[in-house]
């Protein structure tokens, strides 16, 4: 009898949980490894909808909108499969318990989504991501109680273990609770480690979404694709340094946005884009605001007076406080990373045995993600990566069990690195370096970039890289010591930042969320291409390009 395959899913957000559930349904053994405690992930605060339509012509429209918003820098097959499967995925989620809003006859109620002229977006309550996360979590708990799933919470990924053929067959992680360093053997791993909003000053994402795992995989040889595209959301409510994306809710509740002109409200999107009105693509909204203001502060007013009566009641602690009925100020913040780890048709990264799903891979979005595709692509890529990983093991066999010695050696190497860190005598506070990095990346990789800014940021980031070696950890406590984890991770974040900047400098055109004031136009001849960034220990990031193929025909692909 051949041994049971065993897959590790790293990250327990929406895509990680979906991957695990897909594998469990197929009877594969799964270990879920997560940085956060169970059920605490970025998806909880995702207020976008879930684009899904069952009608043939709408599926085609959904695909065309997705491809043209992403300016074709996507994997077309992935997008085509994603939009086709969206409706059945929605039905599955509904069966599992997600309370999508329904019409009286029980069919899905469709709302307008970003960049949609026809309504085809589903919403569950005010925070669709919250209900999806909670539903998946409850389902996983049932599997866990039955002993079919092991969920190890509060572990940070450190490194991969490869066998002599270069196939990844284990990883080493460190417990956030008590510093334990431990190796986990696997036949395949699926990384679902989310985005990088935490690397920027203004973001809707949690502070720990900094791409540390992605950076570590990249340094081990995985490719990055389209990393220069950083997605902003124009309508965010600021709450004590944190930003709350309001656009999804605005579309759902028919809210209106305006700026004040000559002392009167001017509903600029309704005037300028009558076909879309306030559901216009975020990118267009920001460009319009920019044209209107010609300044950096691209805020406007949100008027939610058209919202249902229950809206503020359902809104929980923060949204409930907006209940005065008066318009409130919203402004842009980083909300998503359309780029990420490069993956092939089966969601395998360039490292054998390592798969990726969710926000940390690039496939579904290209230069610009439609917001209501974000939950969809997280879920769909989770399913696809699970199937890809299972098929990989079926074809390649389970990995020859790596010797205990290799595992012990890697654990020992990581313990040595830890000791070296704890005994350092530098003087840099890791949190201060983190704060500087956020400032630098926000300056250089903002909404408007140019060569001078990018080069300044590049040299600042290089300075930071040197400082990372001078990091000092006064706190030697082995319990819940996030300062130590930051001290170890800060260099990985800085290196990833270097990769983003290199890709930004190399793309001498404007496309999607990458806007260069020194190259304000798109250059299809040279840059209608997916950027691929390799990490080279000596040279740093090396940028190359992958053809997207026959893109003119992609619009008609059904």
């Amino acid at each position: 009898m051949s041994p049971q395959p065993h897959i590790i899913v790293v990250g327990a957000g929406i895509s990680g949980m979906m991957s695990a559930l897909t594998l469990l349904e197929e009877g594969v053994n799964v270990t879920l490894l997560s940085f956060s405690k169970k059920g605490k992930s970025d998806g909880l605060s995702t207020r976008f909808g879930f684009s899904a339509s069952g009608k043939e012509d709408e599926i085609l429209a959904h695909q065309q909108e997705t491809l043209s918003a992403g300016e074709f820098l996507v994997n077309t097959t992935f997008v085509s499969e994603m939009v086709k499967n969206a409706f059945s995925l929605g039905q599955k989620l509904q069966k599992w318990g997600v309370p999508f809003a329904c019409e009286e006859d029980g069919s899905f109620q469709h709302f307008l989504g970003e960049g949609q002229k026809q309504s085809r977006t589903l919403h569950a309550g005010l925070t669709t991501g919250f209900y999806i996360t909670k539903t998946l979590e409850a389902r996983l708990k049932a599997y866990e109680a039955d002993g079919l799933l092991k969920h190890d919470e509060e572990w940070e990924f450190l490194s991969l273990i490869k066998n002599s053929h270069g196939r990844a067959c284990g990883l080493v992680a460190q417990s956030r609770k008590n510093f334990e360093i431990k190796s986990f053997a696997f036949d395949a791993a699926i990384f679902c480690t989310g985005g990088i909003g935490g690397l920027f000053q203004t973001t809707t994402q949690p502070a720990h979404a900094c791409g540390v795992a992605v950076s570590r995989l990249w340094q081990e040889g995985a490719l990055l694709a389209n990393p220069e595209f950083i997605q902003w959301h124009p309508f965010c409510l600021e709450h004590a340094g944190q930003y709350i994306g309001m656009g999804g809710l605005a579309r759902k509740e028919n809210a209106r946005f305006f700026v004040t002109r000559a002392g009167k409200p001017f509903y600029l999107f309704e005037e300028l884009y009558p076909a879309y009105k306030n559901s216009l693509p975020s990118l267009v909204a920001l460009r319009t605001l920019k044209k209107y203001f010609k300044t950096e502060d691209l805020g406007c007013q949100a008027d939610f007076s058209s919202a249902r009566k229950d809206f503020f009641k359902e809104g929980g602690a923060l949204l409930g406080s907006l209940n005065s009925g008066r318009p409130f100020f919203v402004k842009p913040a980083v909300t998503y990373w359309p780029g990420g780890l490069w993956v092939d048709q089966t969601m395998q990264t360039s490292l054998a045995g390592v798969f990726a799903a969710g926000e940390c891979q690039y496939q579904g979005h290209g230069a610009n993600a439609l917001e209501d595709n974000i939950l969809l692509s997280s879920l769909f890529s989770g399913v696809k990566a699970a199937k890809g990983a299972a098929a990989y093991i079926a074809a390649e066999g389970v990995s020859d069990s790596i010797s205990q010695k290799i595992q012990n050696d890697e654990e020992a190497r990581q313990r040595n690195i830890q000791d070296e860190f704890l005994n350092r005598s530098g003087r840099e506070n890791p949190w201060a370096l983190f704060s500087d990095l956020k400032q630098d990346l926000s300056d250089g990789l903002g909404l408007v970039r140019d060569l001078r800014k990018l080069q300044t940021t590049q040299s600042k980031v290089l300075e930071l890289k040197e400082k990372c070696d001078q990091v000092f950890i006064p706190d030697k406590n082995i319990h819940a010591n996030d300062s130590y984890l930051m001290a170890r991770a800060i260099k990985d974040m800085v290196l990833l930042g270097q990769g983003l900047i290199a890709a930004s400098i190399a793309r001498k055109e404007s496309r999607g969320w990458h806007y260069r004031s020194d190259f304000p136009r798109g250059d299809d001849d040279h840059f209608m291409k997916i950027s691929r960034v390799v990490y080279d220990e000596k040279q740093g990031p090396v940028v190359g390009y992958e053809d997207v193929g026959d893109w003119q025909n992609k619009l008609s692909v059904a």
């Binding site: 956060s36 405690k37 059920g39 605490k40 992930s41 970025d42 909880l44 605060s45 069966k95 599992w96 318990g97 997600v98 309370p99 309550g125 925070t127 919250f130 209900y131 909670k134 539903t135 979590e137 409850a138 389902r139 049932a142 109680a145 609770k177 949690p206 502070a207 720990h208 709450h239 004590a240 340094g241 944190q242 709350i244 009641k313 359902e314 929980g316 602690a317 923060l318 409930g320 506070n429 949190w431 201060a432 704060s435 006064p474 706190d475 406590n477 082995i478 319990h479 819940a480 010591n481 996030d482 300062s483």
Partner: protein, 228 residues
């Protein structure tokens, strides 16, 4: 704005607790999370003593993930939505007292009893397909409850979740065994109706209504058994 904070600290699960005071200069509208972030950048007490940064838990900073519950001036709150401006000084910050401290303000929610309780219900009912409640699992209600922690009482959060599950309409047989499990020690009868839970819930959930609903269901079940 200058503000004095008195923070209860503990280095390990077994360690003794102690107090440290920090004086912070804060922008208007600053939340407790921002205070803790500032301490991390410059961990120096009011006596100019350099100390280890304070450890705490957080995730979304949008009052929806329920990671950052702690006690401020004796009241359990979410740190991310607690504006410190109007709080009387010194602002006393402590970890939730009904749970084990991992370090400083980080607590472990062991919840073995709650899991056993919910699992009893889960085995009785196919809870795989259940619409989630708006409960954010922050444990603020558990901390506010005078019964929780002092007895086997399973706590308001768990009862609320069970009530919502029951209301979704289970088969009579399954519903009966869920209700029976609630009649055990630590079940609904241990709620002494202090009504603290409903006052502190950040989501403003009708916790006491749910508990009252369960008490009614339990009473009906007890009555049925009496005349069986």
């Amino acid at each position: 704005m200058k503000k004095l904070f008195k923070i209860k600290r503990q280095d390990s699960p077994e360690g003794q607790n102690y107090w440290e005071e920090f004086e912070m200069v804060l922008p208007v509208g600053a939340t407790l999370i921002q205070v803790l972030e500032q301490i991390r950048l410059r961990p120096i007490t009011v006596n100019q003593q350099a100390v280890n940064p304070v450890a705490w838990d957080s995730c979304c900073h949008q009052a929806i993930c329920g990671s950052c519950a702690m006690t401020v001036n004796g009241r359990p709150v979410l740190a991310c939505s607690t504006v410190v401006e109007d709080l009387p000084e010194p602002v006393v910050v402590e970890p939730l007292s009904s749970f084990g401290v991992m370090r400083d303000l980080v607590v472990t929610f062991d919840g073995a009893r709650q899991v056993a309780f919910l699992d009893g219900a889960r085995q009785a009912a196919p809870l795989r397909n259940v619409t989630p409640t708006p409960c954010i699992d922050c444990n603020v209600c558990m901390e506010a409850c005078p019964q929780y922690g002092n007895s086997d009482y399973v706590g308001p959060k768990v009862l609320y979740q069970m009530a919502e599950g029951l209301k979704q309409g289970l088969e009579t047989r399954l519903a009966t065994s869920v209700i029976k499990s609630l009649m055990n020690e630590g079940g609904v009868d241990d709620c002494q109706n202090a009504q603290n839970c409903v006052q502190v819930c950040p989501q403003k959930l009708p916790l006491t209504e749910s508990i009252a609903y369960l008490k009614r269901e339990v009473a009906i079940q007890a009555f049925k058994e009496l005349f069986r």
